[in-house]
């Protein structure tokens, strides 16, 4: 019996996968829309979801720190192990840095983030157009990098499943837990 991820880790992984795909799709489409009530609504939803994901990442990191994930398969060469760990570290780093950059960008642009329209997140920065534009570039660049790392993440999972034929992909699938 190979070890698998805990149900909590699996739930967080797939819940965040859905949320992050939604956030990315929303983020890349809403910015090109002409100004309309819908656009303002979409921006708010994007920000609310971003804050939610940030909190989920904090919880996920705490969970991971206290629940050891299953080890990588023995057949992996050293370089691949390093790449796997670095990739995961980068994913976590970006999942923290992207919402932070979005929040700071909103502050600098003078649009406070109010979670679900109820809980105001304090503005750390004063309104500053140039800083806002700079943070917009940072937010966009981090997201482009994030998309690239996600593509790598999915590609690696598929390689493990179809080429290496190990359980790296299946041990994260929701069904796996039911058997063990």
């Amino acid at each position: 019996m190979t070890p698998h991820y805990t149900p909590v880790a699996k739930t967080l992984h797939w819940l965040m996968a859905v949320l992050l795909f939604g956030l990315l799709a929303l983020g890349f489409t809403m910015t090109d829309l002409p100004l309309s009530p819908q656009k303002l609504q979409l921006y708010s939803w994007h920000k609310w979801a971003g804050v939610t994901v940030f909190l989920l990442v904090l919880f996920r990191l705490a969970w991971r720190a206290t629940h050891r994930p299953p080890p990588l398969p023995d057949h992996l060469p050293k370089m691949m192990r390093f790449a796997a760990h670095a990739g995961h570290a980068l994913l976590y780093l970006l999942m923290l840095a992207i919402p932070l950059s979005g929040w700071l960008m909103s502050s600098a642009k003078g649009f406070q983030t109010v979670w679900f329209g109820v809980l105001p997140i304090p503005d750390l920065l004063d309104k500053d157009k140039e800083l806002g534009d700079l943070l917009q570039t940072v937010h966009l660049s981090l997201n482009l990098l994030f998309v690239a790392v996600i593509v790598g993440h999915i590609g690696a999972a598929l390689k493990h499943h179809f080429i290496d034929r190990d359980d790296v992909l299946t041990r994260m699938l929701p069904t796996r837990n039911l058997e063990s």
Partner: protein, 186 residues
């Protein structure tokens, strides 16, 4: 005779007090008209960069007080370039047809403790409403500062029509805040 005495006294004192304490000239660099509104439940701030005011205000002679404030609507700063462009359009201010918002005070009442209330008409986008504007007035030598705020409902002036007419994204209430610094005229 008593009425004659009173008239004489008035005649002797009025020109002095009126002249010395009548505030007329608005100091643009020490004045501001800003507004606060709710967008998706988030308070947003904006301002108007250009406005003019004709003023005659003497705290001792409120019955002859006059005020006309005109705001150049195209000078709006909503907080984003997108927003500035949008509100100039037909569904918002329609600034090409209605470039100016105008408030004309018809009556000023003292409420005591440096507080006043100006009753008048506010005209935006061809729509006129009677409003009451409360303000404090603090005189410091040659200049005096009016500070006040009031709330208008944008729907009363057809500001934000069509897709913007619902209040779920941009609220109906808009709070206008002003600080007008005036000097005594020469």
């Amino acid at each position: 005779m008593k009425p004659t005495f009173l008239a004489l006294t008035l005649a002797a004192t009025l020109p002095w007090s009126a002249y010395a304490a009548e505030y007329r000239q608005i100091q643009a660099d020490q004045s501001a008209i800003t507004f606060v509104y709710q967008q998706m439940g988030v308070a947003m701030e904006g301002k108007f960069r250009r406005f003019t005011a004709q003023l005659q205000f003497d705290p001792e002679r409120l019955e002859s007080a006059q005020a006309t404030v005109e705001v150049d609507l195209a000078s709006i700063d909503t907080g984003s370039a997108d927003g500035d462009q949008e509100v100039a359009g037909k569904t918002w201010f329609d600034t090409s047809a209605f470039p100016t918002a105008r408030f004309v005070a018809s009556r000023v009442k003292a409420l005591g403790d440096h507080r006043y209330e100006a009753t008048g008409q506010l005209t935006i986008k061809g729509k006129t409403q009677d409003i009451v504007v409360p303000a404090t007035f603090a005189a410091q030598g040659q200049s005096g500062v009016f500070d006040g705020r009031f709330t208008l409902r944008r729907a009363d002036f057809a500001i934000g029509q069509g897709p913007w007419a619902a209040f779920d994204v941009v609220a109906n209430d808009v709070q206008i805040q002003f600080r007008l610094t005036a000097r005594t005229g020469e």
